[in-house]
Symmetry: C2
Subunit: 557 residues, 2 copies
Amino acid sequence: MTTERLIYLPLGGAGEIGMNAYVYGYGAPGAERLILVDLGVTFPDMETSPGVDIIMPDITWLEERKDRLEAIFVTHAHEDHVGALGHLYERLGAPKIYARAFTANIGRGKLGEYGIGDQAITTASAWPEVVEAGPFKVGFLPISHSIPESSGLVIDSPEGRVIHTGDFKLDLDPLVGEAFDPDLWRDVAKPGVKALVCDSTNVFSHHEGRSEITVGPEIEKLVSQAKGMFVATTFASNVARVKTLAEAGERAGRSICLMGRAMRRMIEAAIETGVLKDFPKVVSPEDAQSIPRENLMLLVTGSQGERRAASAQLARGKYNGIKMAEGDTFLFSSKTIPGNEKGVIAIINAFSEQGVDVIDDSSGLYHVSGHANRPDLKRMHEVVAPQMVIPMHGEHRHLREHAKLAGEGRLSSIIAVNGMMLNLSGNAPEVVEYVETGRTYLDGSVQIGALDGIVRDRIRMALNGHVTITAILDEEDEPLGEPWCDVKGLPETGRSRASLVEVLEEDLAQFLGRADSRTLGNDDKLEEALRRVVRNSANEEIGRKPEVTVVISRLSA
Amino acid sequence: MTTERLIYLPLGGAGEIGMNAYVYGYGAPGAERLILVDLGVTFPDMETSPGVDIIMPDITWLEERKDRLEAIFVTHAHEDHVGALGHLYERLGAPKIYARAFTANIGRGKLGEYGIGDQAITTASAWPEVVEAGPFKVGFLPISHSIPESSGLVIDSPEGRVIHTGDFKLDLDPLVGEAFDPDLWRDVAKPGVKALVCDSTNVFSHHEGRSEITVGPEIEKLVSQAKGMFVATTFASNVARVKTLAEAGERAGRSICLMGRAMRRMIEAAIETGVLKDFPKVVSPEDAQSIPRENLMLLVTGSQGERRAASAQLARGKYNGIKMAEGDTFLFSSKTIPGNEKGVIAIINAFSEQGVDVIDDSSGLYHVSGHANRPDLKRMHEVVAPQMVIPMHGEHRHLREHAKLAGEGRLSSIIAVNGMMLNLSGNAPEVVEYVETGRTYLDGSVQIGALDGIVRDRIRMALNGHVTITAILDEEDEPLGEPWCDVKGLPETGRSRASLVEVLEEDLAQFLGRADSRTLGNDDKLEEALRRVVRNSANEEIGRKPEVTVVISRLSA
């Protein structure tokens, strides 16, 4: 006998910060109708994913069940929530997508890159309006975050109400977008909430979160004292911050110039959708060039040290015809995300060489986080008073700490990482299945699996260098001439001071000279033997066993 | 007419934190007798130096003048000051090396790896004893740091006295090793100091530095409350901290076990040289296995998340037969050096999955820095009251800020980065020459230049993948059979859904079919053309232009 059930299955975002993708389902086991909340990306690095363009959740499980997928709901327009829409839309059977106006605007840009029309995303209104999607009714519940129109989702099913917070903070004055409205949230929670699926990012921050409004006066002070050009970077999607910076510049009598595609795109979207009503007049980069630097403020992309963004380009030299100079000020109105420290520090040092004064995030005055801190999470638990708390949007350590926090409030909780399917139907979450999940890489124009071995081979070449061995054999399996080597990424000479290539070729020739016909006649054996000769010989010479490609050519009679 | 002069030339450590190497010289221009202060390493990363083992300063300038090198003086035993001694000793003509007992002990280990005997390093006593080295008299002036027996150097020349601080903090109670003695330093400075060449690491830390003694009570509280096994990591060379941790464990009734080679090596050296007199009894890893976990404390290497160190191995599973378990505590009594965040966070998450409570450095309670903060630097300037301050041991931003700080105290200063030779003879530092400097990589067993292109090729293969093209031509320059491809680190299929290798081979075959004899007869032309075919064809298929090795075999008649 089967009964219907309400399930939760994170495919990304639970056990990591990035590439969010959360499945909910309702129905008989194995036949649940499904919705997906968010479809984001995460970013590659040289250490684990060299050459990769974008990392997305492996959605194979959902793809195999796309006939049961009712819709995708997108909570807000950050890349880790919206970034994979375009890449995975077709594989999911071109499902309906719902988002509020600003998010929809950005999302349509993502789909447009794949030639998918604007109608693919339906603009949804805020709660109390709801969207019907199979057995679900889903409403967008406004909440404050570091991007306009972030929303929690009210997910109603026959098994009760789930609130999925999305990313949030409790900001009563976020400047742009809606404030957190505790009365509204309490109202929505009043009928009883089965599960609060809740952002965990800042669970280790012990002080109460600060409002976006607190940074304005500090920034204003800074800008008013600056002598040369004033340049500031922040997350382009933090429209409120960009506005605060621009207004501080305007008040100090500076012309404002936005630099970097993302910066312009976000402000455009905010204006188009009516989220942003009054923004200081901006000048184009071309016009900026003729404005005296003490009257100019640049707002630029690249707060994380991204090599191609405006900040890094200014650090290396010119960008859009503008160059930093002694006496200018550069402000990071942002925090450095762990892993990006080296890139950011490189920029700071480059500016230092140019005589530019850099103000980073160490004082805490010029940036506030977009996520709820520990006391704020506690407050959210209290406002919603759910049956259970499911921590999401966090690495394992965040989920674990958040579950502990829920426990302190005597709320049932669980650490559910990617691939753990929970049944939320009972009084406490219950693990019902482990689903295979992982990462899909966008690699050039191709989607590959993180474990396909392709990137592993690239990492090995980076660590060990590469040798190509070529050997030609005649019709009688006798070597024709001597084998030769081409090397890439290896020292030219080693221990013997002779050319590495010559040493390798001589050892190969000696080996071929004494190889028996069984080896010479068998491609696999010969390849393996030649590889071993080169790896051992290189190890002797240069203390390193390179990756080897063996090319055996046999002349046919 | 030439006059004698006193010069300063950083070959490493000025414009970066790491691989310290500072040259001083006295004599006629171009004929100065030289001494070298420190010879350290810095560590590679996947981003810029994949596969590299160790990074050292390029000492070519000094090697070419090794007949003028009187001696090397080593301030303390951190890797960034002592780590390159063994690798570069012979190239510098096996010079005399001086260090105090603990540093000499560690240094001898480095030289021993190259079969160089212990006598290569002369153990020096502390100030007021001095070592004569050509025109210089050099004394080791004790100062506190995060390793025993760190010393500033008093460098006397006919042009006056220079004080080279080495790494330091102003700690009046460092627990192990000598305290900062302001009277001693003032005394030494009394005759007048020409230049204070001074550590800049913590110039951005605005509060006064804290003493090593402040962490003991906090650690003790933590250990006394722990339930399961208690594991702590710190920099192995921080002998005082290791002792503090061990004593806290002993007081809580725990047996102490040191894990990781560096941890045991440092404690051994400290005991051998009399620096460390009383250290709690330790048990071997084998014996530790039979001790109840609530009675056990492990002190382990790997505070920076190093993959092969004890911490990372415990995070992945067993180390020395011991496994972490639910309820254990793991303490980072260390700070995370920028760039190491991802590795450290990976360990924290792995422990979280094991149910281990991790205490990191975010509270600031369980670690203090070994470097002088801004107010301490100011105090050092005042104590020494030099004619000029030369900031060293810092990235450009640190040197610049430190020079500003000196300026606030009305001291002459300059930002001198690697390769800038200063004449210190006058009343203010003067740049007299720019010397070519850079980085030398220990790559396997070979020393290569950072700009040789070897590592660049490895990075390119990691980013772009690699294709080997093989083509055989007969005696008439006609293709013999079809060309073929081997790929590494590339997707198997792309846009056309056909095998990438087959698509490339077909395009190559088509090209060869229509190639003219001028191309076919010329190796360079043919190679370039084949490479272009593959790169364009791959770009079409997979959106990526791979690195290409072309092997052309010509059969001779």
